[in-house]
């Protein structure tokens, strides 16, 4: 039960990090050796490996952040994540398998709000020195469509 609350805190911390534009902290939620991708349910269910964002190490996550800060151009925007129905679906030796539902509302600088994303997190976490880290995180979007562009991670 303590573990459940810790895991709920993990997701709470994770989304406050993204919604609060603390992207530099984002890679720290992952193990150094990790997998992260954003894909659609369509690709996921068809077993297609593509990721719109596709990282096989924490360093690649760091590069994503520095590109967003240094290289890429996009209009000011912010996310608001709602997460619910976190569920432990597996407890293999290599970590805990979790699923959770999420919704992301994106707000542009002029105030325009839209449902930017809805879907499932399909994750694996391990506890490393008392801290839970993601070793794998698949962000599976219900929709095959991305509105305009996908800059900030989900």
């Amino acid at each position: 039960m303590a573990r459940r609350l810790e895991l709920e805190q993990l997701y709470a911390d994770y989304v406050h990090c993204l919604d609060g534009d603390e992207l530099e902290r984002w890679p720290d939620f992952f193990a150094e050796d990790c997998f992260y991708r954003v894909t659609s349910a369509e690709n996921y269910e068809a077993g297609l490996p593509l990721g719109l964002i596709y990282a096989t190490s924490r360093n690649m996550l760091k590069d994503r952040v520095s590109a967003l800060r240094e290289a890429n151009i996009y209009e000011p925007q912010r996310y608001r994540h709602l997460v619910s129905s976190i569920k432990i679906v597996g407890d293999a030796g290599e970590g805990l398998d979790l699923v959770a539902n999420f919704l992301v509302v994106r707000t542009m600088q002029d105030g325009d709000m839209t449902i930017f994303a809805a879907g499932r997190y399909i994750d694996r976490v391990v506890c490393d020195a008392g801290n839970w880290k993601f070793t794998a995180k698949s962000v599976v979007l219900d929709s095959r469509q991305i509105d305009t562009l996908l800059a900030i991670p989900i």
Binding site: L50, L52, A71, E75, I146
Partner: protein, 413 residues
């Protein structure tokens, strides 16, 4: 036409584009009929997406829904997805498999080529009701498209007036398609991007060899591509299509000069480095040193090769200020695990979250918003002069002008 929309094209010709063509609903409606239902070939699918007879998928010609099937004859067929009875969508699912096409509304049944096979209760019941004797099945099939293939790429048109596909594509584009599609395509994944801008603003963007290294910092900063690299743009024989290419291993000027030419241009980020730049290095697979090739076929198809990242892009108009951009990321059956891994890593470069394409999802919308109240004014396309023929450099808007060169006669502008 001009009497319908009242648009008079500026005297400068293809070097000017009235902003109104990106915003006017009447012009948009005319485009749907004159261009998308007109004498143009439009990409439908990869042949491999329909391996077996009975396989089908649903797509569009402009905004007109279309069914593409693999017939029992083994050939690919396409028809308008509109029942001949009362106009219902015959195929409701984006893809599927069926032995025939049966409309859910009144169960009229068509074969996989769109011919009407049967009409439920055609003879009525106990001598009452049913269709009149004059009704002929043969006169009520689905509206058929002309379909042809170019390698694994399947194209269709509703126009009897469109030239043969091979002539439409031409040799120049043909060979540039073949160099990329050198194996049996294997789909790695797909996505779709909603652009809040007129479809032509995206097509201009794709054909715009001038912007890439100025808007997308990755190209410039990591020397993936620069205007100072060797490269150029080919325009198809019919002037309607384009292919831009870079051989960035060969520089037209030395590195220092290149840096100097980009000095003060924001896309060159002196101090921006990656922790894991490895995925940026290309594995030679095309045998010609071409590191980037962007090819477009008028009016809705793009074939992209950026390093080892290969993708098809389909441009679907959804309204005067809305466009759907569909992406199909490809590898080849021949790829080994390392090549697949590289393509997946390089997929980070393109698509809605792509390091060198993210901006293209927004810039069209920036223009769409900027031209409110300026519908009477024009954009200026003078980079590289006023021509629209192949050039051995990319500091030009020749291929953007060639888009308008193809567009204007079709629209009567």
């Amino acid at each position: 036409m001009s009497d319908q929309t009242g648009l008079i094209w500026p005297a400068e010709g293809n070097a000017r584009v009235p902003y109104r063509v990106f915003a006017d609903p009447d012009i948009y409606r005319e485009e749907l009929s004159r261009i998308f239902l007109g004498p143009t070939w439009q990409f439908l699918t990869l042949a491999g997406e329909l391996p077996n007879p009975g396989d089908y998928l649903a797509t569009f010609l402009g905004e007109t829904p279309v069914i593409v099937t693999r017939g029992h004859d083994g050939e690919i067929h396409a028809m308008v997805n509109r029942c001949a009875h009362r106009g219902n969508l015959v195929c409701l699912k984006r893809r599927g498999h069926a032995d025939n096409l049966t409309c859910v509304y009144h169960a009229w049944r068509y074969d996989l080529e769109g011919n009407l096979d049967s009409v439920a209760f055609r003879r009525g019941i106990a001598g009452k009701g049913g269709m009149p004797p004059s009704f002929q099945l043969a006169e009520h099939g689905l509206k058929k498209l002309r379909v042809d293939r170019f390698g694994d790429l399947v194209f269709g048109t509703l126009s009897p007036g469109a030239p043969p596909l091979g002539d439409y594509i031409g040799n120049l584009m043909g060979s540039r398609i073949h160099r990329v599609m050198h194996g049996k395509p294997k789909v790695l994944g797909t996505t779709s991007q909603i652009l809040h801008n007129n479809w032509k603003l995206y097509f201009e963007n794709v054909r715009d060899t001038y912007h890439a290294t100025l808007l997308h910092s990755f190209f410039t900063t990591f020397r993936m591509s620069r205007l100072t690299s060797e490269g150029g743009v080919d325009i198809a024989e019919n002037g309607a299509h384009h292919a831009s290419y870079t051989r960035n291993k060969v520089d037209r000027v030395d590195a220092a000069t290149s840096d100097q030419l980009y000095a003060g241009i924001p896309s060159l980020r002196e101090n921006f480095r990656l922790a894991e730049p490895g995925f940026l290095s290309m594995t030679e697979e095309f045998g010609d040193d071409t590191t980037t090739q962007i090819l477009s076929l008028f009016p809705n198809f793009v074939l992209q090769q950026i390093q080892n990242s290969i993708a098809l892009r389909l441009v679907l108009p959804k309204g005067p200020d809305k466009t759907e951009l569909q992406w199909i990321y490809l590898g080849f059956e021949e790829d080994d695990a390392a090549m697949t891994a590289l393509r997946l890593a390089q997929a980070n470069l393109v698509g809605p979250a792509g390091y060198v394409s993210m901006e293209d999802g927004a810039v069209g919308n920036f223009i769409q918003r900027a031209i409110h109240g300026s519908e009477g004014e024009c954009s200026v396309l003078e980079m590289g002069g006023a021509g629209h023929v192949s050039e051995a450099n990319r500091t030009t808007e020749a291929s953007v002008r060639s888009f308008w060169h193809a567009y204007r006669p079709l629209m009567g502008f």
